[in-house]
């Protein structure tokens, strides 16, 4: 592991050595991609296994830090056990193809920002919040490249500073460009604006669109004669230079991805650019991008809570995850012994962090604790003069060493005072003066305090940030205790205040499941994709011999649409849903299909199971795969299924949604996003997941968040029936069980492009005994309501439904019964 030299006065940016090498490799990889696949003919579609493409990344993988066996996330995808699964290559291809899909109808040639690819690769897929470390590298690269930096007291003279008002202006400029032609030029004369455009490209909001330009009178005009080949050459020239921006700033413009409805808010961008990225799951959501200090790196936090609520652990866990940012944590304890604290700290370091080259296993180099001895009198004065003043003295000595070229460190120091109440035994303590001194330390000061409303009332207006921890449900045996983090004040930034669920454990460390509104807010700028008309699932037509692969197919399930299967009894809804989601997709656009064939056409389904454990679905998947081997011989479909099984119990809505989103984000970062999601057994929420059942917002939130991902979403629900078979669906029963049917109603209201009902055959349909009738109730862009299919859950096969009486197409009476 890398160790910081004790005499080294400079903080080392996470991944600084590796990142530079990786960026060069990405440029090479993009060149290879453009050379082999840029014309989109599809004849030379790239595969992730392409040896030449892999070779582009050899310098990166041969870097000493990678050879030592650390940073396993670079080579391994999140589900892969192979050493060289080439996650980096998959991400490169995936991002390039996404841009191609975005620009398919235009004549332009576009690529993702190399930083966008880099940012994803440096992030540990299983731990999306580790993007904080990656973000530090990427943004520092941008700051140094464009010689700009957020307002800071220690800003070196060669750098220009920018603030929130500048960001607002730049965003306004971007807005006006996007409203006109969506061409955002490189503004070489406004380096901070250019940096911001690159930053947005790094976040995947913008992509780079190439083309030859001519400039005149400060106006850039498009050369109408520019051919696609010219644009490709322009891209190759840019990539070969291996610089973020070309010297003249003419080779490309920035374009906004259409799935971003709006640009991010200026305040969020300021948090991301000037704040401290928080490597804690969920913290990015609640702090909207980062923890913002004042321009002097000062921040005073009140961290309070009842005994056992996790205050000390919270502060220790924060120290651990901040250590790769070269943050030194000084823990001043009035209660525990330094030795005990050290042991607790070690137990709170997340397992994944220990495997990264950016983590220093020598904890003494980034954490130190001292037991504070105070007398009975003048405690605060004593602490102030003997600790705060002397820390200040030490740090001030260092400030004289201002180095002309160097940027200020991200967060040099965290000081934890545990607990502040012990220092305030006397009435005459001058707390205000004390906190003012704390605010001059260029550090994050965490003042830990037990529950004391009077004290909190006094201190809250002085501190910058207020976090209160709570441990609810500890007073009754009927509840599973839940840790709650209440964020109530953030002086220097916008944030998402409120009560959020949090967890503390050694293996995964500190993690927060933000409250539902915060989780929705985070994705608000991303538009809900309209079901894709380019790609469709032909599943419902496959059984017909005369299936044709064009838009006229009778019932095509459009890709990224939402499907609901519900009905009474065990009709094999999971098998039907999974068959649908694992079916290959077709496209009208053959080129696009070809390009995507090796990546996007592979099916990967996430099953959210509230019903059966993973084994059940693995078995089902194997049976479907066998079936498909014959059915889709020509497609060579590779499919993957992953299951997120929730045991019945005390699952909170926040954790439920967080875990699902985490899984989806994980797969994107792994280079293989999910193509479909199956929410199986929603009815099981009733009575078994009482916290989900009680929450009115869990389903709307989940569906609205899932809609932001490019996924085909299938929901299954088994309707409840009390009484005998004949009596099923009776109005009385439904009224009794209305509460249990809530998820179904939500699914219907929120999430249904295709609505199917499954039921056993009626008496008149005796010929289908043992099978189930699948009735289409409604379908987007189809007028086929009432069409029926026959589902054999044992054989996992769908067949055509034949009417007994040719004239009778639709049995209204029968249909309305099932509707209930």
């Amino acid at each position: 592991m890398k160790k910081m030299k004790s005499q080294d006065k400079h903080a080392i940016i996470p991944y600084s050595n590796l990142g530079k090498v990786l960026l060069d490799c990405i440029f090479d990889g993009l060149i290879y991609f453009v050379e082999t696949n840029g014309d989109l003919t599809g004849e030379q579609s790239l595969k992730a296994s392409d040896e030449n493409l892999r070779k582009c990344f050899s310098p990166f993988f041969n870097h000493p830090e990678n050879i030592r066996g650390v940073n396993p996330h670079f080579s391994q995808g999140h589900t892969s056990k192979n050493k060289w699964e080439a996650r980096v290559v998959k991400i490169l291809l995936k991002t390039c193809i996404d841009v191609m899909e975005e620009t398919k109808d235009t004549q332009g040639f576009a690529l993702p920002s190399p930083l966008f690819i880099l940012h994803q690769i440096l992030t540990v897929p299983e731990e999306p919040h580790s993007s904080a470390y990656s973000l530090i590298f990427s943004r520092t690269l941008l700051f140094e490249n464009f010689k700009v930096f957020p307002e800071h007291v220690l800003l070196p003279p060669k750098y220009k500073s920018f603030n929130i008002s500048d960001i607002n202006n730049y965003l306004d400029n971007f807005y006006s460009y996007t409203k006109q032609s969506n061409n955002i030029p490189q503004t070489k004369n406004v380096p901070a604006q250019l940096m911001l455009a690159h930053f947005l490209a790094m976040k995947g909001v913008f992509y780079l669109r190439f083309g030859n330009r001519e400039s005149g009178n400060n106006k850039i005009k498009r050369n109408k004669k520019t051919t696609k080949k010219d644009r490709i050459n322009s891209a190759l020239a840019y990539l070969s230079a291996k610089k973020l921006s070309d010297d003249k700033g003419k080779s490309f413009e920035f374009h906004k991805f259409t799935f971003f409805e709006e640009l991010p808010e200026a305040a969020t961008l300021v948090n991301e650019l000037a704040g401290i990225p928080m490597p804690i799951r969920g913290a990015e959501t609640i702090f909207q991008g980062g923890l913002k200090t004042d321009s002097n790196s000062n921040l005073v936090i009140r961290l309070s809570g009842e005994p056992g609520s996790g205050k000390t652990s919270f502060a220790l866990a924060l120290s651990a995850v901040m250590s790769p940012l070269n943050t030194f944590s000084y823990y001043l304890t009035l209660e525990e012994s330094p030795k005990d604290l050290k042991n607790r700290l070690i137990s709170l370091i997340p397992t994944y962090l220990k495997k990264l080259s950016i983590f220093n296993s020598d904890t003494d180099s980034w954490f130190w604790s001292d037991k504070v001895f105070v007398g009975q009198k003048n405690r605060l004065d004593f602490f102030e003069s003997e600790y705060i003043d002397r820390i200040s003295e030490q740090l001030n000595k260092r400030k004289s060493e201002v180095i002309q070229e160097s940027l200020p460190a991200i967060c040099p120091l965290i000081i934890v005072i545990d607990s502040i109440r012990v220092l305030l035994k006397e009435e005459n303590s001058n707390l205000e003066k004390f906190i003012e001194k704390c605010k001059k330390l260029n550090a994050i000061i965490i003042l830990i305090s037990a529950n004391d409303e009077k004290f909190h009332h006094e201190i809250d207006y002085m501190v910058d940030l207020v976090i209160h921890l709570n441990h609810s449900g500890t007073h009754t045996q009927l509840e599973k205790p839940t840790r709650i983090l209440q964020l109530s004040k953030t002086r220097h930034q916008i944030s998402r205040p409120g009560s959020h669920v949090f967890h503390l454990s050694g293996e995964k460390g500190l993690r927060i499941s933000p409250q539902l509104p915060s989780q929705i807010d985070k994705k608000e700028k991303i538009s809900k994709p309209i079901p894709s008309t380019d790609f469709y699932i032909n599943f419902f037509n496959e059984y017909k011999k005369d299936t044709i692969l064009d838009n006229s197919t009778p019932l095509s399930i459009w890709n990224t649409s939402q499907v609901l299967f519900h009905g009474y009894g065990s009709s094999g809804k999971a098998g039907l849903s999974l068959s649908l989601l694992l079916s290959p997709i077709y496209s009208k656009n053959i080129n696009l299909l070809s390009t995507k064939s090796q990546l996007n056409l592979n099916r990967k389904v996430l099953i959210i199971s509230l019903l059966y454990p993973e084994n059940y679905y693995n078995d089902l998947k194997s049976r479907i795969a066998k079936k498909f081997q014959n059915l889709y011989k020509e497609h060579n479909v590779r499919s993957k299924v992953e299951c997120l099984y929730f045991y019945s119990g005390y699952l909170t809505p926040e954790d439920f949604i967080s875990r699902i989103l985490q899984k989806l984000d994980e797969a994107i970062l792994g280079g293989e996003p999910f193509t479909g999601i199956l929410l199986d057994g929603l009815h099981n929420v009733s009575l078994q997941f009482h916290k989900l059942q009680e929450s009115d917002m869990v389903w709307p939130t989940l569906y609205s968040l899932l809609a932001k991902y490019k996924l085909t979403i299938v929901t299954t629900f088994t309707n409840f029936a009390i009484g005998n078979e004949k009596n099923r669906g009776a109005i009385d029963d439904d009224e009794i069980l209305l509460k249990g049917h809530k998820p179904l109603l939500h699914a219907l209201v929120q999430a249904t492009d295709y609505h199917f009902i499954l039921q056993p055959p009626s008496v008149r349909e005796g010929r289908y005994e043992g099978k189930y009738i699948v009735t289409l109730k409604s379908a987007i862009r189809h007028k086929l309501a009432g069409e029926k299919f026959v589902w054999d859950r044992e054989l996992l096969s769908l067949s055509q439904y034949y009417q007994t009486t040719q004239t009778k197409i639709f049995d209204l009476e029968e249909y309305s019964n099932t509707d209930k």
């Binding site: 690269l141 140094e144 000084y330 260092r398």
Partner: protein
């Protein structure tokens, strides 16, 4: 002779006087002091050493010490004897008054001082006014908490602490460093003027005690990188 002295000690009550209005024990002691030959005195010492002090009450021990003091029969052997018995006696005591008194007596024995009469010592008043540090000094021998408290009281009264400076090395050598540091912090918080603060700081430095920021923390803080390495 020892039985005679022992009887005298046992019968010696504050208000017991002989026909001449004198305390018999004191009289006997003075007699021994003035008249006893060297051999007699040696004999007396051997016999006094044989007295089992642990059987005596605290008050009787006071009388015994008083006797030794005035009879000038004091030597190392008897000192050790009394010392060990007093330790035992001290541990038996559970009230503050008796503890302090025992300690005071211990001090008298230890210092063999002629500056104060036994009455003066026992009354405490004079000692407390003229030698405030004595309390902490004697307390330190058996009970550091008492010493810490007494010094704390002295400091909060604004004492210049000069007397304490002289006594301090003796005081400190028996105390665990961590405990001493803790005490220093408490004393420091009791200071009422800047001079006292400076003196305490100086002591602490001389004794290699750092309160407040630890040396390790100071070193580490002085090495925190405030700037970051360039990555381009």
């Amino acid at each position: 002779m020892s039985s005679k002295i022992l009887n005298l000690i046992k019968s010696d009550e504050t208000d017991t006087v002989d026909v001449n209005g004198e305390k018999p024990l004191l009289k006997e002691a003075i007699n021994l002091s003035n008249e006893g030959t060297r051999e007699q005195n040696d004999e007396a010492i051997i016999q006094l050493t044989n007295i089992d002090i642990s059987l005596l009450s605290v008050y009787q021990i006071n009388s015994f010490l008083s006797f030794i003091y005035y009879s000038r029969l004091f030597n190392d052997k008897i000192f050790r004897k009394i010392d060990s018995s007093l330790k035992h006696s001290f541990h038996e005591c559970d009230t503050d008054t008796i503890t302090k008194r025992s300690l005071l007596l211990r001090f008298v024995v230890n210092n063999f001082s002629n500056r104060y009469s036994l009455q003066e010592v026992l009354s405490e008043e004079k000692i407390r006014n003229e030698l405030p540090w004595v309390w902490s000094d004697i307390a330190s021998v058996y009970n550091w908490n008492l010493a810490e408290e007494e010094i704390g009281n002295i400091i909060s009264k604004g004492d210049t602490l000069e007397s304490l400076i002289i006594r301090l090395p003796y005081l400190i050598k028996k105390i665990d460093k961590e405990q001493l540091k803790n005490s220093f912090v408490k004393w420091y918080s009791n200071t009422v003027n800047k001079k006292q603060k400076q003196i305490l700081q100086k002591w602490a430095t001389n004794l290699n005690i750092k309160f407040g920021l630890s040396i390790s923390a100071e070193y580490k803080l002085s090495n925190i990188p405030l700037f970051q390495e360039s990555i381009i």
